[in-house]
């Protein structure tokens, strides 16, 4: 049997060299070898009361799967993960484990936590190499559930419901399923082939995925009930881009992060003209914002050939909401960070193209509602940075396209859907979860919401 590995540090993750990777869209983190994985798994103390699991929104049986890896029984490891998590290859890559399972790991007191995320990714990647087997679930209930949106919340809800014996159809607006996993998160962080495979797994379980379906336009929620569905889950995300409402935002070369990333990721602008959708990336690019989406946009700009890429963020590094791993990767690749800087206007030339961005220096004042110190402009400190492209990555709001077309669905004052703790909405038979309820959050929180809703839908349909 395997003995404990008493190393205080995580087994390092092999990664592409920063210089090389800043020129390609291949995955940055290369993943553990079998030997790395077993070594890391042997660091787990297999606690009687595993605190790590308290930090997992989808309740992965963490010590159980890690024990299987330590024993080189990789198939059992992935089986354990998949009992509760339908998207392990995705979660292993993009979950903020440092704020969840790994933060609660007992080893933190002595050194690094166990690399739970890296091990989850290893197990999922190992399975993919063997060829994923998915037993088709047979519908045992004769009841149908419609899922609107095929992002992390929708896919998780669909996966759980099909396993419970329901006939499940997922409706997706785009031509490819995956939601933010496809249009938002770039190839070098989450290869699209992996998303595809996770979707295929759910399809093999028996879920039907219908693309090109802009719900609220082509079909309403009431139409869906009339078509014979017994329950509906809405997981349409927070897809409406926010702009800063400063002068010059409509100049040519100013993008929302949504558009910039969608052109590159979903429409594969990095292959233009082999593919048909272009994107304009100049030599100097400014990305406004400090979240993961800003990091993704900046790193995409670099890979599209930009020479200088700036992050412009109004608070200081400490308040930056991006995952540390992402901002570190960005720094390694040469992204330039301008903290305590806020754009005041975008400057254009006579043809309407961006040529610069005027910013003002900020300083931190009293804490605001979020508990972070509020950035306050320093009067008279305006300065201009020359730019060819500006990407606005300051967040998104709820897209009203479906919610407005749904009668009897209560929204909060910001336009997000009101639900109870299980995702149940004010409309009979309708649940919602993910960013359309909480506002922009993480993949795993959306998955957690999808999971809770699936359970609640199951309880509801059993009594119907």
């Amino acid at each position: 049997m395997s003995s404990i590995n008493r190393s205080k540090t995580k087994t390092p993750m092999p990664a592409q060299d920063p210089k090389k990777r800043s020129k390609n869209f291949d995955e940055v983190a290369l993943g553990y070898t079998e030997e790395d994985a077993v070594n890391e798994a042997r660091r787990c103390l297999n606690c009687k009361k595993p605190t790590c699991m308290e930090g997992c929104p989808v309740q992965v049986q963490i010590p159980r799967f890690i024990k299987h890896i330590a024993e080189k029984d990789f198939q059992s490891a992935i089986n354990v993960i998949k009992e509760t998590n339908s998207l392990p290859a995705v979660c292993g890559r993009v979950c903020p484990q440092e704020e969840q399972c790994e933060q609660k790991c007992i080893l933190n007191k002595m050194g690094d936590s166990v690399g739970i995320g890296r091990l989850e990714r290893f197990a999922a990647d190992w399975e993919r190499k063997q060829g994923i087997k998915a037993p088709k679930q047979t519908s045992q209930t004769n009841k149908k559930v419609a899922i609107i949106g095929s992002g992390p919340a929708g896919l998780t809800c669909a996966g759980d419901l099909v396993k419970l014996g329901y006939e499940v159809t997922v409706f997706e607006a785009f031509h490819e399923p995956g939601g933010v996993l496809i249009y938002g998160i770039p190839e070098f962080r989450l290869p699209k082939a992996i998303v595809k495979q996770e979707v295929e797994f759910i399809e093999k379980l028996g879920v039907q995925v219908k693309t090109d379906m802009v719900m609220g336009k082509v079909l309403t929620v009431d139409d869906v009930f009339q078509m014979g569905y017994d329950a509906v889950f809405i997981g349409t995300g927070a897809g409406l881009p926010k702009f800063m409402k400063i002068p010059g935002e409509n100049y040519l070369g100013v993008y929302s992060a949504n558009e910039f990333l969608t052109r590159i990721n979903l429409m594969k602008a990095y292959s233009f003209p082999k593919t048909d959708t272009p994107v304009k990336v100049g030599k100097k690019v400014a990305v406004v914002g400090g979240g993961n989406v800003a990091m993704d946009s900046a790193r995409c700009a670099l890979r599209m050939g930009a020479e200088e890429v700036y992050i412009i963020y109004r608070r200081s590094e400490e308040e930056m909401p991006a995952r540390k791993e992402e901002s570190e990767h960005a720094k390694e690749e040469g992204i330039i960070f301008n903290f305590l800087t806020n754009p005041t206007r975008i400057i254009g030339d006579d043809k309407g193209w961006v040529k610069g961005i005027e910013c003002i220096q900020m300083q931190l004042g009293e804490p605001d509602a979020s508990g972070r110190r509020r950035p306050v402009p320093i009067e008279g400190s305006e300065f201009i940075l020359d730019m060819d492209t500006v990407v606005i990555a300051i967040g998104t709001g709820p897209n009203p396209l479906l919610t407005k077309a749904t009668e009897g669905l209560d929204l909060n004052k910001y336009g997000y859907i009101d639900t109870d703790e299980n995702g149940k909405t004010s409309k009979e038979g309708v649940w919602a979860g993910g960013d359309i309820v909480t506002g922009s959050a993480t993949v795993i929180l959306a998955m957690g919401a999808g999971k809770k809703a699936a359970q609640s839908i199951h309880e509801y349909l059993q009594t119907k």
Partner: protein, 280 residues
């Protein structure tokens, strides 16, 4: 996959397709548009719905071969399939209590004008139409427009058919003659809509235009189609594509349409330079 049921060549570079898309046809209304993608790797392009048949489950679109995607689309025949066909998108147009409406269509703009005039005509509204093109061979849907209009004026830039001159010349004359309308609809190239709305403004007649900015998703998630209307930024895909023409910043729209000019050229050069085998 969405089947092309019929293809009709309306002019040397203008084609009309009837597409089998029952769900879209069931919900389509005048003023709305669709987004299509020919195949994997293709771009998503918006086309206004030129007609729809709820019973047959079909949508009619009209397009002009100007870029790589529309040129490739023009090589398809009845029986071929499109990978994606999404809609109906955008807001439907509403006309309340109108008695007399003037519809103006320039070039390809005649196609999106048609369903609006057809609806007005069916409601019993008195419809006058002015349609035009560069030359007689580029004039489209003349019979369809005439069938839903009480009176139709035809113009060509080169004088090869109807009046010699732009559609706006006739518009000006009608207004100067003292003709009154509850609303004027102008659809065509941005410059036509700009000039047209400038003509109608002093007469204080509500003037509707339909905008055609660059789009990706068509559902409000990218913001690429933003236009300034009445000093506010609007997304043409969800707030439009029809707007109050007196409030639209056409200069900004025309500039933004130039964003990918050099890439469009690259794509066409590659397309016609033997990169594909469509024409062999």
């Amino acid at each position: 996959m969405y089947k092309i049921l019929e293809r009709k060549d309306l002019a040397p570079s203008i084609k009309q397709f009837v597409i089998d898309a029952p769900l879209v046809a069931k919900k389509a209304q005048p003023g709305q548009f669709i987004i299509l993608r020919i195949r994997e790797g293709g771009e998503r392009i918006p086309l206004t719905i030129a007609d729809y048949d709820t019973q047959k489950g079909t949508i009619t679109v009209v397009f002009q071969e100007v870029g790589k995607t529309t040129k490739e689309l023009g090589t398809l025949k009845a029986g071929d399939h499109l990978a994606d066909f999404v809609g109906p998108l955008g807001q439907a147009v509403q006309f309340e209590n109108h008695k007399k409406v003037l519809g103006i269509g320039g070039g390809l703009g005649v196609a999106p004008l048609y369903p609006k005039l057809k609806m007005l005509h069916q409601k019993g509204v008195e419809v006058t139409s002015i349609i035009g093109a560069k030359s007689a061979d580029l004039l489209i849907m003349e019979n369809e427009i005439k069938a839903v209009s009480n009176k139709t004026y035809i113009c060509t830039d080169d004088g090869s058919k109807g009046r010699h001159g732009f559609v706006t010349v006739v518009l000006k004359e009608l207004l100067e003659k003292g003709e009154k309308y509850d609303e004027i609809i102008i659809i065509g190239p941005p410059i036509l809509m700009k000039i047209g709305t400038e003509i109608t403004k002093p007469y204080d007649i509500p003037t509707m235009v339909s905008l055609n900015p660059i789009m990706v998703d068509g559902t409000g998630m990218c913001g690429g189609c933003r236009v300034t209307v009445g000093g506010e930024t609007k997304f043409a895909c969800v707030d439009g594509p029809a707007f109050d023409g007196h409030k639209v910043d056409f200069d900004e729209l025309m500039k933004r349409l130039q964003t990918y000019k050099s890439e469009e050229k690259t794509a066409i050069d590659k397309h016609e330079g033997g990169g594909c085998r469509c024409h062999q």
